[in-house]
């Protein structure tokens, strides 16, 4: 018994929409098996995981807050992956954005300031994230150093830098020695959309970014260049597109978006810098990008779904005493299934029984 793959002549549009849904369905099914294996009632556990996060308006606001960074980061990563640039250090770029933006909030703390503070923080956050992403881009284009390893190593470095800052120079002097910065002033907090809820302007920004990126990819020359370099690098060279300039561009964009997500998150949900500011948004966004088929609109939908798993995981921790790691198991499984389903799109997969002796071509 063995698998035989043969390329499909043309992939059907229907299947390409359907395959992420099949992947989600398979993930939920294996979740049921996993819960049963852990001695839980699968129906009850799945309800807590996947339904409780979308049960009322309060929960929906929380969902929007969690989905925002995922969507922002994954749209940037999609541009990278489409053009064969493997930026997997978005987690570090997220942290760097929070550090740069948070620096402004801390510097203006207690000083008379105006409505310019938060926009300045967002700008600084984008610069911070982009600056960190430029390092792997530079090493890749100048010295052809593998960007996967360098961008990942920078995640650890950025996290340690934040840790040092909030325990050292940026620690709140009146904070009873807790490792955290001062609370940001009202002007330095992410602008809220409602007076009582948690939803903030970041969600609107994420929606605008999705629309802009979709427009870029489908209607603009740059978007064509990104797709061409990824799919047919030789043809792109003949067309005169510079591969290294594109690498710089997509790394800068994805770094800036991750940095923006970082400062929106810190200014919105915490209001201060802490040693750990992300439950792994930068890594989960990789899954979001693939589940969304590297398409901005797809990223929006996939981002909402993965936000559900984050909140569902927290709810399950409280209600079922499940370790938070179950969320990661789900997310890993989801990516497995997405990748497997993609194969069924590109290839016709057949199971051949007892292979006849291969004749070499």
């Amino acid at each position: 018994m063995r698998l035989v793959l043969s390329k499909r002549e043309n992939s059907s549009r229907w299947m390409s929409l359907l395959s992420p849904l099949i992947a989600v369905a398979l993930t939920i099914a294996s979740g049921a098996v996993l819960f049963a294996a852990m001695g839980l009632d699968p129906a009850k556990a799945l309800a807590i995981y996947f339904l409780s996060p979308i049960s009322d308006t309060w929960a929906l606001q929380e969902l929007a807050v969690k989905a925002t960074p995922l969507v922002l980061i994954s749209v940037g990563l999609s541009l990278c992956y489409l053009s064969n640039n493997w930026n997997i250090g978005a987690e570090g770029q997220f942290v760097m954005g929070a550090i740069f933006g948070g620096g402004i909030a801390i510097a203006t703390h207690g000083v008379a300031n105006g409505p310019w503070v938060f926009p300045a923080m967002m700008l600084a956050g984008m610069i911070g994230g982009a600056a960190l992403a430029m390092i792997p881009a530079m090493l890749k284009t100048r010295l052809s150093v593998n960007e996967i390893l360098t961008s990942l190593m920078l995640v650890y470095i950025a996290e340690l830098l934040l840790d040092w800052l909030v325990r050292g120079p940026w620690r709140d002097p009146k904070g009873f020695n807790f490792p955290q910065s001062v609370m940001f002033e009202a002007e330095a907090q992410t602008i809220r959309l409602t007076s009582d809820g948690r939803i903030n302007i970041g969600t609107l920004i994420a929606l605008v970014v999705v629309v802009l990126a979709a427009f870029l990819l489908s209607r603009m020359l740059k978007g064509f260049e990104i797709r061409l370099v990824g799919e047919a690098p030789r043809a792109a060279r003949f067309a005169g597109f510079s591969q290294s300039r594109l690498t710089w561009t997509v790394f800068a964009i994805s770094g800036a978006l991750a940095g923006l997500a970082g400062i929106i998150e810190v200014g919105g949900t915490m209001g201060q810098l802490q040693p750990t500011i992300s439950p792994g948004y930068g890594f989960t966004a990789i899954i979001v990008a693939f589940l969304g088929r590297l398409n901005p609109i797809g990223c929006l939908i996939a981002g909402v779904f993965l936000a559900i798993t984050f909140i569902g995981g927290e709810n399950a921790q409280i209600a079922l005493r499940l370790p938070l790691d179950v969320t990661r198991v789900f997310q890993g499984l989801l990516l497995f299934f997405v990748l497997a389903c993609d194969a069924f799109l590109i290839y016709r997969v057949r199971l051949v029984r007892s292979a006849p002796q291969e004749r070499s071509a």
Partner: protein, 305 residues
Amino acid sequence: MTMFEAILLTIITASTPLLIAAIGQLVVERSGVLNLGMEGMMIMGAACGFAAAILSGNSYIGVLAAIAAGMGMSMIFAVLTLGLAANQVASGLALSIFGLGLSGVIGAPFVGARRDTMARLDLPVLSDLPVIGKALFGQDPFVYASFALVIGVWWFLTRTKPGLILRACGESHASAHALGYPVLKIRLFAILFGGACAGLAGAYLSLVYTPFWSPGMTAGRGWIALAIVVFASWLPWRAMAGAYLFGGITILQLHAQGAGVKIPSQAMAALPYLVTIIALVIIMSRRGGQQSAPASLGVPFVPDR
């Protein structure tokens, strides 16, 4: 034991898991496959190895369980990338995320449990040699296994026919296929070997290096092992040198902190990651750094018929 001997001993301890993991990955990459799931396979080895050792009360059963866990994880990767020709980078990342999560679930009941580290195995006569005797020949079985792996893999890749075929698959899978070699089957064996090594390296962490389990305890070592393979230009002996360089830096960092060097501890902790980047830069800026990579590395192979 002198100070020098003690430092040498700790450097070997810190380097061994990196060496075992890197050697496994080296074989995988020489066959033309890039498995970024090292971190996930390694941590699964650490969790399953520790859990099995606690439950059975026997460290060797723990080691076997760790190897099985690493191979099981690598099998998932093989099904995706060989069976379904999926993107290797994304599949490896998925494996890492999945492994970090599942190891947390498996290890949760064992947080706080402790075991004695595995007994040292003194080689008679040799371990009485001055200076290097205790460090090289008075070690735990893993250290000997890592030496054996380096020699064995070097011999296999450069001196045997199957090793030559494996390298051919990595350099040009189309040519290897045209000559009638079963490319996918060879890659499957390479991936499983890599998984076994990663599991073994993980077992070393949770059974010897720190004899307890804590979530995320691999702390990026799987990724550093990947960097060591590049640093080593895909050559076993250089991988050994690379692993000892990184292990040395880890120990240097600990000793500097212990000696009260006035540098923030976070800066010291960041050192291995920083050195990884610098090492990659140095290797790549030398002449022909990139040329030593297997030519078919990371390219899926779908046999034509």
